[in-house]
């Protein structure tokens, strides 16, 4: 068993590049999904029926579809529409679009729970709509939604592991190739599990410090 971990150690370069890819992939799509979510949320809350209906159908639709199937469709299905993406682009696109729906729903929930007064004060001061959203509504929204957004980040990391099926060289893919090369399944995958755990602990620590900032501002 110790010998097996020795083999994994000798392949650490592969494992670390997998970890780096998982981190990059998750971070990029988390940021992109959050930005998209910030655009989608006002659409969800829109008073125009059509806009809010379209946004609602998209968000609810995404929440009913398994991520892996969605990733398959982006990678294998989109070429039918003439859109051919390589595995990095389609992985990133799938992660981003899918999680944007969840981000939007989280932000909507937090928005609905916000106190009305600052927003009304902003309106009274004559803030134009976009600046009202950017300066008055969004900052407290992000702070109060912090913990849930953190959970969604962890979800993104876990979803990114599914992208191993489209041969994206992330952490699980790296562990798989080490196991198939040397036949050390336990050592390879348990190492991957603990690396994922480490990533999630880092995010939890980050969320806690954001929570302290939010607490200090209150």
């Amino acid at each position: 068993m110790i010998h097996d971990f020795g083999i994994v150690w000798s392949e650490r370069a592969l494992l670390l590049s997998g970890l780096a890819n998982t981190t990059i992939l998750s971070a990029l799509s988390a940021v992109a999904a959050l930005l998209l979510g910030c655009i989608l949320t006002p659409a969800l809350m829109s008073k125009q029926r059509l806009v809010s209906w379209v946004a609602r159908v998209f968000v609810d639709g995404m929440r009913c579809v398994p991520f892996l199937l969605f990733a398959y469709i982006v990678y294998y299905g989109f070429p039918s529409f003439g859109v051919r993406l390589d595995n990095w682009t389609s992985g990133l696109a799938a992660l981003t679009i899918y999680n944007a729906a969840y981000m939007a729903e989280i932000l909507r929930g937090a928005w609905a729970a916000q106190p009305r007064e600052p927003i009304e004060a902003g309106v009274a001061f004559g803030f134009p709509e976009l600046r009202l959203f950017r300066r008055i509504i969004l900052p407290p929204l992000l702070l109060s939604a912090g913990p849930v957004l953190g959970n969604q980040m962890i979800q993104i990391i876990k979803d990114s592991a599914f992208l191993t099926i489209i041969a994206l060289p992330e952490l699980t893919h790296a562990a798989s190739s080490i196991q198939s090369r040397h036949y050390v399944p336990f050592a390879a995958f348990i190492t991957a599990v603990f690396l994922y755990w480490g990533l999630c602990l880092v995010i939890e620590a980050g969320v806690n410090s954001i929570g302290r900032v939010a607490e200090a501002r209150r």
């Binding site: 469709i73 990391i157 990114s160 562990a175 995958f189 994922y196």
Partner: protein, 215 residues
């Protein structure tokens, strides 16, 4: 895509649903057991449960499944795809269920427990008659939410060769060179199942709010 292909995807749906059900039915009581161990603060064991839940919640199901499927035979435990799938689902969902149950237990009013003690109920009775009915009600929306999450991760089981909706769809796609139609059929099967669970969760929440408002 022929009628036989669609039937194959429906066959996959039976596998997906039954594996999910088995996972849920085994995972629920295990999650409750883990939560009770933490609630009762059983020395040493409670710490292991904390570690188990923390690690399992951070582990992607694919990685867990590959670990079980390849590593268990390596240490002399023979395992087939179906049992590896069930084991992975149960380990995954029990960790999440544990958190749902635990937060219900944390919110359980202590005075009721003490009242049950003072009328001389034994530990088993107290749990069955006083604690369980109330925490079930509080946990229900969270547990249903976890069920819909569980169904959404089942496509992963196809990776080790379980012929579920996703694997059937992938196979048909590669035979016909037209991957989109079978995937759309697959979505048409997953979406109503998940949507039904999400609606059930909203309905339970609304009903509980209404009951609280009436009380």
């Amino acid at each position: 895509m022929s009628a036989g292909d669609i039937a194959a995807i429906f066959g996959g749906a039976v596998v997906t649903v039954s594996l999910s059900l088995v996972g849920i039915l085994i995972g629920l009581p295990i999650g409750l057991g883990l939560a009770l161990i933490r609630w009762a603060n059983v020395p040493f064991v409670a710490r292991i449960v904390v570690l188990y839940v923390s690690v399992l919640r951070a582990t992607p199901l694919v990685t867990l499944l590959l670990l079980l499927f390849f590593a268990l035979p390596n240490i002399g435990v023979p395992i087939n795809p179906i049992s590896a799938a069930i084991l992975a689902l149960v380990m995954n969902t029990s960790a999440f269920n544990c958190e749902v149950w635990r937060s219900a237990l944390m919110g359980f009013p202590k005075d009721q427990y003490e009242a049950a003690q003072s009328v001389g109920m034994r530990a088993g009775q107290r749990f069955r008659r006083i604690v369980l009915p109330q925490i079930v009600r509080v946990s229900l929306p969270g547990l249903v939410n976890e069920m819909s999450l569980l169904i959404k991760v089942t496509p992963v089981l196809a990776v080790v060769g379980v012929v579920d909706i996703t694997r059937a769809a992938v196979r048909i796609g590669s035979e016909t060179y037209e991957p989109l139609p079978p995937f759309l059929v697959a979505i048409a099967l997953y979406a109503p199942i998940v949507f039904a669970l999400v609606s059930l969760q909203r309905w339970i929440e609304r009903r509980q709010l209404a009951v609280e408002a009436a009380a």
